[in-house]
Structures are given as C-alpha cells and as structure tokens.
Amino acid sequence: MHVILTGATGLVGSGVLDAMIKTADITKISILSRRPVPMVEDVKDPRINVIIHKDFENYDSALLEQLKGARGCVWALGISQTQVGAE
C-alpha cells in the first residue's frame, strides 16, 4: 500500500514514519517535506520517496502524479500546541 506523510521531521510525524517503516504491508511512503528528512537519510529504505515541497497551499499535477495510488495520508504538520504563536 502507498501512503503519504507530512510533518515527518516533527514529534508525531517521526513516530508515524517509524511505524510506517515497520509496516510490511506498506510498499511506498511519499513524504512531503519543506526540507530533507534526516531519519530517511539514515534509514535508507527504498520504499521512501521524499518530495521537497515548500508551498502547502498549492499542489500541481506533477506532484499529484507522484502521489497517485496512495490510499491514505497522515497529516502531522503543525507545531506543538504549547508553542503556537498568536498568528
């Protein structure tokens, strides 16, 4: 199964990434991230594709083409509630 993950460099996202890596039924993990994901670089799992994506308001067809076939995603983007600023 192909799944998508955002927020992979964060607290919850890292935990989810680890779980996805450990799930044998997952055949492909597409990570949308604003920057490279150190955990991915160290783990070197061929199922993982990190897509560097800076603008989370826009998703063009080239990107969606890469995400085709995904059955689900975990949206773990955001920051801790204790650190949220007033904006």
């Binding site: 199964m1 799944v3 998508i4 955002t6 927020g7 460099t9 964060g10 607290l11 919850v12 890292s14 935990g15 989810v16 990434l17 680890d18 779980a19 996805m20 799930t23 039924d25 997952i26 949308l32 150190p38 955990m39 989370f56 308001e57 826009n58 998703y59 969606l64 995400l67 085709k68 076939g69 995904a70 059955r71 689900g72 995603c73 975990v74 949206w75 773990a76 983007l77 955001g78 801790s80 509630q81 204790t82 650190q83 949220v84 007033a86």
Partner: protein, 155 residues
C-alpha cells in the same frame, strides 16, 4: 485544507482515500470565549474537513487528538525529533511522570501513536469509528480523542 482538497482526487468509487488529520487534545469544534487560539484554529480545520467529507464521501477524512505526546520510550526516533525550547522542556519533565502514572488517559507515547495513525491511514479500524466513548462525529467525520487512540493501540 489545500492538501485535503487536492488529495480528494486520489480517491475513487472503489478506493476511498483516508486523510488522517493530527489535531490535538483541547481542539474544539465549539470553542468557548476563553478557548485558546489553537483550540479554535484546529477546531475550524476539523469542521472544514468534515464539510469536505460531506461533499466528497470518498474522502475518508478523520481527526485525531493526541494529548501529551511522549517520545521518551521510543529509541528509534530519539535523534530525529525537534528540540523543545528550554522552558517547555522543563515543564514537560515535571509533568511527564504524573501524566504517565496518574493521568494515563492523557498520555500519548509516540510508538503506539505512530502505529495507530498509520493503521488509520491504511483504512483499518473503520468499524470502530462510531459515535460515543471519545468519538465525536460531525456527519460521517469522526474526531478521535486520545482515549480512543490508546484503545485502538491496545493500551
């Protein structure tokens, strides 16, 4: 929200798309006057997702509300998680043990949390997502409190 709208094209008649939104305990779809900003913002996102789900029934969106996310037992991710500002780190250190011991319902250890969120994204546990017992439903859109995540994880 832009992503959820874009991703709904990944869903189809035969294969719904599971969009698992990580919200947080304290988020509310009906914030009172004194609710903190994050409660309102996350609550609004939850309602927007519920609405999107209503418009596109193949987009199986749901929201989860972890509470005290605790990576201390999760060796695999220890080197990769962001550092917290010193004061918050200190506060969490003080609160961690009482939460782990006395307020288990608020405890969200990262390893089981990661596992449950992954399973939900894969479309598992759908038969459990009925209203009641920590699950609020806005139409077909489930909002899962931390207690439910713990239960699904077997904690």
């Amino acid at each position: 929200m832009a992503a959820a709208k874009a991703f709904q094209n990944l869903a189809s008649e035969t294969e719904p798309f599971n969009f698992v939104y990580v919200s947080g305990a304290g988020a509310s779809t009906e914030p009172g006057r004194f609710a903190p900003i994050f409660a309102r913002v996350k609550g609004e996102t939850e309602l927007a997702l519920a609405d999107l789900r209503k418009q596109n029934p193949h987009l199986h969106a749901l929201s989860t509300r972890p509470a005290f996310v605790d990576p201390s037992a999760h060796r695999a991710i220890k080197n990769y998680i962001p550092a917290k500002p010193a004061m918050i780190g200190l506060l969490e250190l003080v609160l961690a043990h009482p939460i782990r011991l006395a307020l288990k319902g608020q405890h969200s250890p990262t390893e089981p949390l990661g596992r449950v969120l992954t399973e939900l994204a894969m479309g598992k546990h759908k038969d459990q997502l009925v209203a009641g017992n920590g699950i609020q439903k806005v139409g077909n859109f489930p909002i899962l409190e931390n207690s439910v995540l713990r239960r699904l994880a077997g904690l």
